[in-house]
């Protein structure tokens, strides 16, 4: 059996012992139609034997604001001074913070659990790769929160450094070890 292409369409020729049958395009179309009808019927029959179910999927992204820190800074102990100057301040930058927020106009504020002893200062500086750090901020009397990073938009930041500096005036006498809780809050 051969299909020959002619100007009017396909021409079917059957070669065999009894000669050949020559036909034209309409016959081919009829055969194709028959095949199509049979196939469609088979599909319909198959579908009538199955079942289906539908689900409605609801999605939502809520406002998310998260901040975390890596442990506590090392003890800040002043033990040296340059004659004629204030006591030599000490610093620690061994801790970091990370944050994620999907909100705009956010900021980080810091507060301290109690005032620092007279003549001493506890300062903090948070670095930020995607927002604005306010630099070294005095936390000594920051019982109410003060801004340390501003202009935070939808972003995530990982392992940004937290720097603490403890300073004391020259007339500060011995201070036994004390602690303060510093709270960093990511808020709007």
């Amino acid at each position: 059996m051969n299909f020959l292409h002619t100007n009017g369409g396909y021409l079917l020729t059957l070669n065999g012992r009894f000669g050949y049958i020559r036909t034209s395009l309409p016959i081919v179309r009829i055969i194709n139609s028959i095949i199509l009808v049979v196939a469609t019927s088979a599909i319909l029959i198959a579908q009538s034997d199955g079942s289906s179910a539908t689900q409605s999927v609801t999605i939502e992204v809520k406002p998310i604001t998260k901040i975390s820190v890596t442990g506590n800074p090392n003890p800040l102990i002043i033990s040296d001074a340059v004659p004629g100057s204030n006591l030599t301040s000490v610093s620690d930058a061994n801790t970091n913070y990370s944050l994620t927020t999907n909100l705009d106009n956010m900021k980080i504020v810091a507060s301290i659990s109690g005032r620092m002893p007279a003549g001493t200062k506890l300062m903090i500086k948070l670095s930020s790769s995607k927002a604005s750090s306010t630099g070294l901020i005095d936390l000594s009397g920051a019982v109410t929160p003060v801004d340390v990073v501003t202009g935070i938009s939808k972003c995530s930041e990982v392992n940004q450094s937290i720097n603490y500096t403890f300073a004391a005036n020259a007339d500060v006498s011995e201070i036994s070890t004390q602690s303060r809780v510093v709270t960093l809050t990511l808020t709007n």
Binding site: I64, K66, N72, S79, G84, S179, V182, L184
Partner: protein, 146 residues
């Protein structure tokens, strides 16, 4: 009655929604910061200076090294000196602001000092009154310890 219930339900829902939003928009983390100021004598002074006379000793060394904290912390001020051509030395010590300035030599003075200015004056007086105070090219060692 039903109207009151509806209003009540709306208020409750509003409070819940507000609380939920507030909770989502704020997150906190805390750190514990430990600090202290050591009472280390090394932080005060330990130096040797070349002096020309007793007045220079007191005015130069004391003004450089005596800080206001000395009037608050009980310290022992020990000073000694010797001339380059003689092995003559004097020693003395002061115990904070209320202690006496005494000398290991035959000379001694007692002063009551309550601030660093008076300590400075006491030392000046001591060194000027002490006949053994060397003049000329003299090395002075001033050490402050607890």
């Amino acid at each position: 009655m039903n109207k009151i219930k509806s209003i009540g339900a709306m208020v409750v829902v509003s409070v819940v929604i507000s609380g939920n939003l507030a909770a989502q928009q704020t997150s906190s983390a805390v750190q514990v910061v430990t600090f202290g100021v050591a009472r280390s004598p090394q932080m005060l002074v330990n130096r040797i200076a070349s002096i020309q006379n007793a007045t220079t000793i007191a005015s130069a060394l004391i003004s450089e090294t005596f800080q206001p904290r000395l009037s608050r912390i009980p310290v022992k001020i020990t000073f000694s000196s010797k001339t380059s051509d003689k092995s003559k030395a004097i020693e003395g010590q002061s115990r904070d602001s209320e202690k006496a300035v005494s000398s290991a030599s035959s000379s001694s003075v007692t002063r009551t000092s309550r601030n660093h200015e008076s300590i400075q004056k006491d030392l000046q007086t001591f060194m000027l009154e002490n006949e053994s105070v060397p003049f000329g090219n003299t090395l002075l060692a001033l050490t402050i310890t607890e």
